[in-house]
Point group: C2
Chain length 466, copies 2
Amino acid sequence: MYRQGSRRGEHRPGGAGLFPGRIGRVPLFDGTARLAVRRQAPQQGGDILRGQPRPQAKCRAEEDPVTLPDDGSAPVNPPARPLAGLQVVELGSFVAVPSAGLALRQAGARVIRVDPVGGAPDVRRWPLGRDGRSLYWAGLNRGKESVELDLASAAGQAALRELVCAGGAGGGILLTNLAAKAWLADDLLRRDRPDLIYVQVTGRADGGPAVDYTVNAASGLAYATGPEDGTGPVNQALPAWDLLAGCHAAFAVLAAARHRAATGAGTFCRLPLEDVALSTLTTLGYLPEAQLTGTSRPPQGNQLYGTFGAAMPLADGSQVMIVALTGRQWRSLLAVTGTVAVAAALETALEADFSDEGQRYRHRKVLLAVMQPWFAARTAAEAAAALRGSHVLWSPFRHLAEVAADLTSAAGGAVWPAEEDGFGLNLVTEGPASRDGSRPPLPSAPRLGEHTEAVLAELAAARSSS
Amino acid sequence: MYRQGSRRGEHRPGGAGLFPGRIGRVPLFDGTARLAVRRQAPQQGGDILRGQPRPQAKCRAEEDPVTLPDDGSAPVNPPARPLAGLQVVELGSFVAVPSAGLALRQAGARVIRVDPVGGAPDVRRWPLGRDGRSLYWAGLNRGKESVELDLASAAGQAALRELVCAGGAGGGILLTNLAAKAWLADDLLRRDRPDLIYVQVTGRADGGPAVDYTVNAASGLAYATGPEDGTGPVNQALPAWDLLAGCHAAFAVLAAARHRAATGAGTFCRLPLEDVALSTLTTLGYLPEAQLTGTSRPPQGNQLYGTFGAAMPLADGSQVMIVALTGRQWRSLLAVTGTVAVAAALETALEADFSDEGQRYRHRKVLLAVMQPWFAARTAAEAAAALRGSHVLWSPFRHLAEVAADLTSAAGGAVWPAEEDGFGLNLVTEGPASRDGSRPPLPSAPRLGEHTEAVLAELAAARSSS
């Protein structure tokens, strides 16, 4: 196990993972190497549609890059597929619903993404690969089956409803961001499948349309983001509300599945993006504080609110993020920057107690000013060398291309390079979780509509045998 | 149901919810009002510890503000508690692990948060209420039982292990961010509870410490955030990685519980914050793009990458976020701003096709310049009046205090005001999801250690009867 206070965070180009050049990373696949090889697709677990054996979907699974031991034998750990047997139909686009389906698929569920003919509005979303194929769409839909249906026609709508209600005991699950479509109404579907699990992600709580960026503008958070002296709002680059909504939706599916297993009852769950933002900003205290004080928290720059953390400029023009949440981290920061005596004098003079993180925050300007010369006199490598032996939480600010280059040469972890059709060597992931030290093999990203024929044939077979 | 294109987003002070002044919001509690009343706490569902009836925990539940119909009778819809019977022990601080426990508790699980005597380092985290109590801690731990144990002693460690292994079929679940503690090792706990579900959130993938802000610095995202002309990194104000890790951890608990129900097997799941960031930035294409191009995506200001969206300054100094993802939204934006003819002329002259969102992004500077005079000539109210009838996705940028004031006068939704000990009138939430049109009643936030005695008595009773 990695020991705190030793060899932490050294910048070594070519190192693996997010923190450059770390040593002692626990390899996820002991004695194995990731290889892109051709082999049969693994069964995605218990995929029986209405009691019929599931025909092998027409997919490019034989090209799946999988993790194999060096000798080419079967993976050391069997792939962890806790959701084997679950079948989810996903009808949505952009981030929230597709990321919910992705989390379920990565944990072993069969996920069938249904799109209108030609694709949803996200089908060509940037960034694009060399052949114009969307990296974004591929990443969000990897390992799902892709079905195109003419959703403007009654026949296409009926096929979708039939598909949602299929799947046996683990089926009858719909994840969607479509609201207010009569042909997809909860009670219409529930007639055929009373134990239906229907998770509907809407934009606004009233069912109206909204996206991450309008929700963020409306939430108040953008005026609490960005440079301290900034006057305008700053949006976060990450569609965090979408991602959180997706994760809550995946959680809601499993909560409802547990409820169904215990009681036989289905669930209709609504998850407005707006309410994800509002409830999160309430739980973390942003909105209760604004309610109590009547004022809005100003932007903090790269400082942390209510505790001690900041981005410190270095001699070489780069910056390092330092954080001291605990007393130990704070004392270590003073020691490493040689500011113990100055901080003690300030504590006396200001009648402050810097062992309280709130007081460190209150006096952050003078404390940062006292520390800044130490950082300004050092390069990134020099600062790293000193911080490495400390208890301070720290990291250099890195650029995406640096991180990507490191990951491309990585040997293990949550992200790795794989050859993929249309993209060439590409960074891929199966999500952040490892289970019992294992990750499932990597499936390929589908082409739009790749599984339409196979899935419709399955439905027809189930229909004729029932 | 709210109809698109009508009466959307009007700014009307005192309106409810995130989008000010909307009309037609579907009330979550038809015919009910939220009242802070005294009544018995609802049973938290199937809470049997090792087969013993659960004694009523010593808590302030009789002061719970709950949702009652106007006539004071029982809630119209029974509270939705899909996770009734699940018992989770949470040992962690700050956001990730506590938010995971909170999501499980909000869905009906019994969650026991264990802290060292005096509390974890987050116990006084800002923002604070009037009496110095942490709004942040209260929000993240609402409805959990709080147990203080001397975790530095062998007896305290043994009590924690016993508590983790208790809870009958729905127990044996540990959520923690402690790594590398021999007394909390997976195999030690698993000896007593072979079907243990152990979800460990670490900072770095190697088990080393990291927090949201150092992970964000290391991820590369901070250099892709903030003003277009900015040269330094900009952290997001929201601890998005922590929140996502928490949501993934809650999901992992349910996935493992499903696996256990099907196979009898437990799970050890690791979720490094670092891998949450890396896998998310890979799924969304940030890192694959950087890998393919060798360059880092620059900050976009408040514009959207790869499509059309921007913050537009208005005549009164405020700004409005506008987004056009689809062809319909784009055509509507041109129509409402009177730029149809100019855009057509530009399309011809530039040999562009603005029906492709990628080309709208590529030519965004000129397109924004063409539209800006329309916005600059209008106040927020005037812009809203025009946009309300359109298909454009839009919202004014609001301040936290505005949002909080609106919510304080709100009649329903995910966040509402409630009287709470130590805070007075306070904004509270039970999370973003509603199930079958219902939300569970609001439990109070515990005081640190409030349930120590009751929970230890439960353990002793179970021990003596086994």
